[in-house]
């Protein structure tokens, strides 16, 4: 059935009505125990039904001046924003200089009544928007969870898997986050990529002249046009060839800045993704090979002048150097240490541990309980461990603290189809939120239908590896339009207090 068409008068009346902040319809008030056919009960029910009818008959009305406009792009499956609004602060992204919205974001704005999306010259009704925008690509459950959170004020963005298991394990994700957060100052960038490149190169050459404190506060724009923050030094490295010549000339006057460039470069993992043209082309710089066993002399060639510090000149074109090798076969004076020395200790800590171990074993061998320590099976606890109850208990511990990454990797992928995928990043409502550098989400959300098997332990571990360290992993379970949130929280079992 076709929807109602409101007349001009009705529209004006509605606007006035909304201006006076209407109340929510009552939810039924107190509840009765059971139907008793009384007139009062029926009257109450009738009142409820009437109110419900009039509320459901209300339509979404908006003034043209405050209405945002978008157009559906079938090919890319996104909505192009023609006239933006307040929502742009938290929703949407820029691609090729155009403002775009994901289908679920646009559908939410239509549902909220602040945007009109055109398709073929005619705006979509909410019913059509569900079918056209979500289509078969975005499941309804995802949209329902998204809308639920947006209505509460949270900022919800699509999740992109950027964290590898290794980064999560070693904590590199925290490092990169702190790097980004350091650069607080942001310059206004135009969305046109070409303009920005030229600006960047200008910045590069300008900031080089400033010696002394090098501020890490300029922006870099990646090839996709998304504004990313980073150190100015990376800017230099990524700019076009035309600038490198300029850069090389000036490099000679600033020795310290160069060192800093290299230092910064090694810290940034983002370099992995960009084909950086390095200042030092290690393919062309020759390093002498001092690893050859047989060589007793090596030749050092004069390095090219642009690599040398200013004012330094090397006289001869090459130098020869003799190598004195230690004879590894020469025997040292034997001490008790020598026996340990011969075994494989990779570093001092290991060596020290092995040495102590050895001396302890000797002591135990001379004790009355020596019989325990011979053979393959030896006691778990040694007399030296009797420092505290905690120390003994830690030796007897059957299981350690769970490391989800190891747990996930140790099991082979059998049932990949059922694995819950993280769908959204949820950020707390914040006036200081910036789409370009959102930081770590407070919640990583998986969405499932009611009735789907709940995640197994392995699923949980796998999902945890994709989630940044300081985000909570949560599940939104949608049951016929009703959204409930669940999470699995790690619990620390009580331990002996005396254990350090």
């Amino acid at each position: 059935m076709a929807s109602r068409h409101l007349s001009g008068e009705e529209l004006l009346q509605h606007i006035k009505f909304i201006k006076h902040r209407p109340e929510l319809p009552q939810r039924g008030g107190f509840k009765e125990y059971q139907p008793d056919g009384s007139w009062l009960q029926n009257k109450r029910l009738e009142y409820f039904y009437d109110e419900r009818r009039s509320v459901l008959l209300e339509e979404r009305v908006q003034k043209i001046s405050s209405l945002a406009i978008g157009e559906w792009d079938e090919k890319h499956g996104k909505v192009l924003v023609k006239k933006s609004g307040k929502f742009w602060k938290n929703l949407g992204h820029v691609e090729d200089g155009k403002q775009l919205l994901f289908p679920e974001e646009a559908l939410f704005l239509i549902d909220e009544g602040v945007m009109e999306v055109y398709r073929g010259g005619v705006p979509l009704s909410v019913e059509e928007a569900y079918s056209v925008l979500l289509g078969s690509k975005v499941p309804l459950e995802h949209y329902q969870a998204f809308a639920h959170l947006c209505r509460l004020g949270y900022i919800v963005q699509r999740f992109e898997k950027t964290l590898t298991a290794f980064e999560r394990q070693t904590g590199l994700d925290e490092n990169s986050k702190s790097n980004r957060k350091k650069s607080k100052k942001r310059k206004r960038q135009t969305t046109d990529a070409a303009d920005v490149t030229s600006k960047r190169s200008k910045d590069g050459s300008v900031s080089l002249h400033q010696r002394g404190d090098i501020p890490c506060d300029s922006d870099a724009v990646t090839s996709e046009g998304r504004v990313e923050e980073g150190c100015w030094s990376v800017d230099l490295v990524k700019t076009a060839d035309s600038v490198t010549n300029e850069v090389q000339v000036k490099v000679e006057c600033a020795k310290d800045t160069q060192k800093e460039i290299c230092g910064e470069m090694s810290n940034r993992e983002n370099l992995k993704s960009s084909p950086a043209q390095l200042l030092w082309d290690f393919d062309s710089i020759e390093f002498p090979d001092i690893s050859k066993e047989t060589a007793s002399e090596i030749v050092l060639k004069r390095p090219p002048s642009h690599l040398l510090p200013p004012g330094v000149e090397i006289a001869k074109p090459f130098y020869t150097m003799t190598i004195v090798r230690r004879d590894s076969t020469r025997k040292h004076r034997s001490t008790s240490n020598a026996v340990v020395c011969g075994s494989s200790a990779r570093n001092w800590a290991e060596y020290k541990k092995m040495f102590l171990d050895k001396s302890e074993m000797e002591h135990l061998a001379s004790s009355p309980a020596a019989i325990l320590w011979t053979g393959e099976v030896t006691p778990l606890v040694r007399p030296s461990h009797a420092v505290s109850t905690g120390a003994i208990l830690s030796r007897l511990r059957a299981f350690g603290r769970l490391d989800p990454i190891h747990a996930a990797e140790s099991v082979n992928c059998e049932d990949d189809a059922h694995q819950s995928q993280i769908v959204y990043n949820v950020y707390l409502p914040d006036s200081k939120f910036r789409k370009s550098s959102p930081g770590s989400p407070s919640v990583c959300l998986c969405v499932d239908r009611q009735g789907v098997r709940s995640p197994s332990f392995v699923d949980l571990c796998r999902s945890l590896t994709e989630c940044p360290r300081d985000s909570t992993l949560m599940w939104a379970v949608v049951d016929n339009g009703d959204v409930a949130f669940y999470s699995f929280n790690g619990v620390d079992l009580p331990r002996d207090e005396s254990f350090p």
């Binding site: 076709a2 929807s3 029910l45 409820f48 004020g153 339009g481």
Partner: protein, 283 residues
């Protein structure tokens, strides 16, 4: 006949009248899932569309109260659609301009004496300042009146006019692909749930989903807005063994929320079999 929209294997009612009828006449509750137009940014009350359970939709179709249409592929708007849209927009703008004008005129007529007084006073003040006080002020009054009547009232600009974002599809000529009867396939589990749904409906109850209480359905003696539910229905296969742990779990849950847990199944003679769990004390 109520129209039920099918999209991504879910069932929706987009028409407000249908959504009300389905509850008042046919005891089908469903759940509203859209933003409420008057207050969109909250999660206490929702607006259209009304999402129906698969059991509810099938029930309505099989009883002959409703029919299902597919909304998976909506064709782009035709030229007639575009024309009618532009005409409609123009019409509502003109109507709004008219309504605004009438409003303003009414206001003007009501306040005319006050405006006149005010203007007269201002003119008199100006005149005394300049030194020439007219003897007869009736001329002045007539002059001002003439002036006021001739001033044009500002028209409502297009930017300040309002438009409607339609909830349901508004193309009049849209041909909908209605299904003939119930054609959607259901799994064994869904068939079981449907049988039990019909069983309770025939007895005069209202049913909603019971996920929040660890069951399949919640059974209400009357409209869910006025009464609390009596039963938490759990659907099980008849031959399925039930462990003591599960029974305790369900029993505990039921007694904590003051509802009776009812275990339902369909036995070998195709009859619905129900049994309730009750927490009893042996003291």
């Amino acid at each position: 006949m109520i129209s039920i929209c099918l999209f991504q294997e879910k069932f929706y009612i987009w028409n407000a009248e249908d959504a009300c009828r389905v509850r008042e006449e046919y005891r089908i509750v469903g759940s509203l899932v859209g933003c409420l137009p008057r207050v969109p940014m909250q999660n206490l009350q929702f607006g259209l569309p009304l999402q129906l359970m698969k059991e509810e939709a099938r029930f309505l179709v099989e009883k002959g109260f409703a029919r299902v249409y597919d909304n998976t592929n909506i064709p782009p708007p035709s030229d007639t659609d575009k024309e009618s849209f532009t005409e409609n927009r123009k019409r509502i703008y003109e109507e709004q301009v008219e309504a605004c004008k009438t409003n303003k005129e009414e206001q003007f007529e009501r306040n005319f004496p006050r405006i006149l007084e005010g203007k007269k006073k201002k003119r008199m003040e100006k005149a005394t300042l300049m030194g020439s006080v007219p003897a007869d002020d009736s001329d002045l009054v007539a002059e001002i009146e003439e002036e006021l009547r001739n001033t044009q009232l500002p028209e409502l600009p297009l930017e300040a006019s309002s438009v409607q974002i339609h909830t349901a599809c508004f193309h009049e000529k849209q041909s909908r692909m209605f299904h003939d009867g119930w054609t959607i396939s259901m799994t064994g589990r869904e068939e079981l749930e449907y049988r039990i749904f019909s069983h309770f409906w025939e007895k005069g109850y209202f049913l909603t989903r019971g996920g929040k209480f660890g069951g399949d359905f919640l059974v209400y003696p009357g409209d869910p807005s006025r009464f609390h539910s009596f039963f938490i229905v759990v659907c099980l296969e008849h031959e399925r063994p039930l462990s003591a742990m599960e029974m305790i779990r369900m029993g505990r849950l039921g007694s904590n929320v003051k509802k009776t847990v009812v275990l339902c199944s369909v036995d070998s003679s195709n009859e619905v079999f129900t049994v309730s769990l009750e927490w009893s004390k042996m003291s």
